[in-house]
């Protein structure tokens, strides 16, 4: 009799234990799925979190990038910095720079009646080097500097801001096809100022915590890099002196 009762009780007890243990078991399983492996940066899973945006989101962020003074971009990307925008905006910019540089060279050679136009393939790696440096390496350096001064900003956030800030250069490149030197300087200068202001506006929160001299160092560094960016873009891609190499 007792063994029969025991046989009846066993499955009930096991079911009860399973019920109690179920949430923790599920939690463990879930943790294993979401867990990022040790060298997280090298795995695909780590970067998936930065691609969780929709097309509408990207459109909105690009729109805000043209208006450097408003706070809307910072509010929009509060918790969700993305990497799709920066990477593809910069890749588009590389393509646009290479095309416009070739067209500029073609137009300049035609007007000054130099020899036959040969397309220049070197613009593509040059543009890639310049844009990816300003878009990825410079934000990393800037964030490193800011972290030394005690800021809590993330690397990905700065890359995101800088990447979206470069979207203003795409229409600037198309407009620079107009062959007027001063106009080109003005356009590229406007692009540089727009992206610099955009960057400062979004980093303002982090910079508020620093004291005066630290803020000065950061601003000076950023300003120097922006000027270098403007000069590189204008001279390397739109100027006959540097652009025309045999």
């Amino acid at each position: 009799m007792t063994t029969e009762m025991k046989n009846l009780k066993e499955p009930l007890i096991q079911a009860a234990i399973a019920d109690i243990a179920a949430p923790t078991i599920q939690k463990k399983k879930k943790k294993k799925k979401d867990e990022v492996p040790l060298c997280g940066i090298l795995s695909l899973k780590y970067y998936r979190q930065f691609f969780k945006i929709t097309s509408a989101d990207v459109g909105t962020r690009i729109k805000y990038a043209f208006v450097p003074f408003s706070n809307k971009f910072a509010e929009h990307t509060e918790d969700s910095a993305d990497l799709w925008g920066p990477f593809w905006i910069q890749t588009t910019l590389i393509f646009v720079l290479a095309v416009c540089a070739n067209i500029t060279r073609f137009l300049k050679i035609k007007t000054e009646k130099l020899d036959d136009f040969k397309y220049e393939l070197n613009f593509v790696p040059a543009a890639a080097g310049a844009v990816y440096f300003f878009g990825f390496i410079y934000p990393l350096l800037l964030t490193l500097l800011m972290k030394c001064f005690g800021s809590k900003g993330g690397f990905i956030q700065t890359i995101c801001v800088m990447g979206y800030g470069m979207v203003v250069f795409i229409p600037v490149c198309f407009l620079c096809l107009i062959q007027h030197d001063k106009l080109q300087w003005a356009l590229v200068g406007y692009g540089g100022i727009n992206s610099a202001l955009f960057l400062f506006n979004n980093l303002a929160n982090d910079m508020r915590r620093m004291n005066q001299s630290q803020r000065f160092v950061i601003l000076a560094f950023a300003f120097a890099v922006q000027v270098a960016l403007i000069i590189t873009f204008k001279l390397k891609f739109f100027d006959i002196f540097f652009a025309y190499k045999s």
Binding site: L44, Y47, R48, F50, F51, K52, I53, T54, S55, A56, V58, W84, W88, T91, T92, F95, V99, N102, K118, Y119, L121, V124
Partner: protein
């Protein structure tokens, strides 16, 4: 007992049929220790392909490439496409890529090696990056399947490059632009149908735009060389 005999007969009667199938599709008889294929199974898997002539092997691969080209490029065969493209191969993309790079480097007098290498790198690196992008956006595809589709869709640009090569030197720029534009549009439409299905609707533009940029880049090279 009679029941059992009936069953054995049924089993026995299946064997000769499939046996004959195996013999009729290849010259070499199947190896003695290989099991006979079940009825209805593709016999190819059980052929001993080591004994066949090389021409047969090459023809089979070429036929497979032609088959895939037809399905990838015909815009009307949408539903069947997904099934056929599951078995990816990289021969087709390699042949098409080499073809494009060779045509463009024949046309270029000054730096043929440079343009050959550039096209090669752009196609393979570009396909890799576009596929990575689709996977990061949450797309569920095997990596090589996507690279395979992107490679096959380079075919219209191949045709455009070939056409431009045979046109006389002084055709107006607009005609060249129109031909390349047509090739680019055809390529993009073909691969967008595949890539767009990989990501959710709200991320469709994010998945499709890199494909557009990739073919635009290639089309620009075809145009200016």
């Amino acid at each position: 007992m009679a029941d059992l005999e009936g069953r054995i007969n049924l089993v026995g009667s299946n064997q000769p049929g499939s046996h004959m199938q195996a013999f009729s599709s290849s010259d070499a008889p199947p190896a003695p220790n290989l099991p006979l294929p079940p009825p209805g199974a593709p016999v190819r898997a059980y052929e001993n392909t080591l004994n066949e002539p090389i021409s047969e092997t090459i023809m089979r691969d070429l036929r497979m490439i032609g088959y895939k080209l037809k399905y990838v490029l015909n815009p009307k065969m949408r539903e069947e496409r997904a099934q056929k493209l599951r078995d990816w191969d990289l021969w087709g993309p390699l042949i098409l890529c080499l073809f494009l790079a060779m045509i463009l480097s024949f046309q270029d007098k000054t730096q043929p090696e440079s343009i050959f290498g550039t096209i090669f790198v752009i196609i393979w690196a570009g396909a890799f990056i576009v596929t990575m992008n689709a996977k990061l956006l949450g797309g569920s595809t095997s990596f090589f399947q996507s690279v395979c589709v992107l490679g096959y869709c380079v075919f219209p640009l191949d045709l455009a490059a070939l056409t431009l090569w045979f046109l006389p030197r002084d055709t107006p720029f607009l005609i060249r632009l129109a031909i390349v534009g047509l090739g680019f549009a055809w390529s993009t439409m073909s691969s967008v149908a595949f890539m767009g299905a990989l990501v959710t609707d709200e991320k469709k533009v994010l998945g499709v735009y890199p494909v557009f940029l990739f073919y635009l880049f290639l089309a620009w090279f075809v145009l200016i060389v």
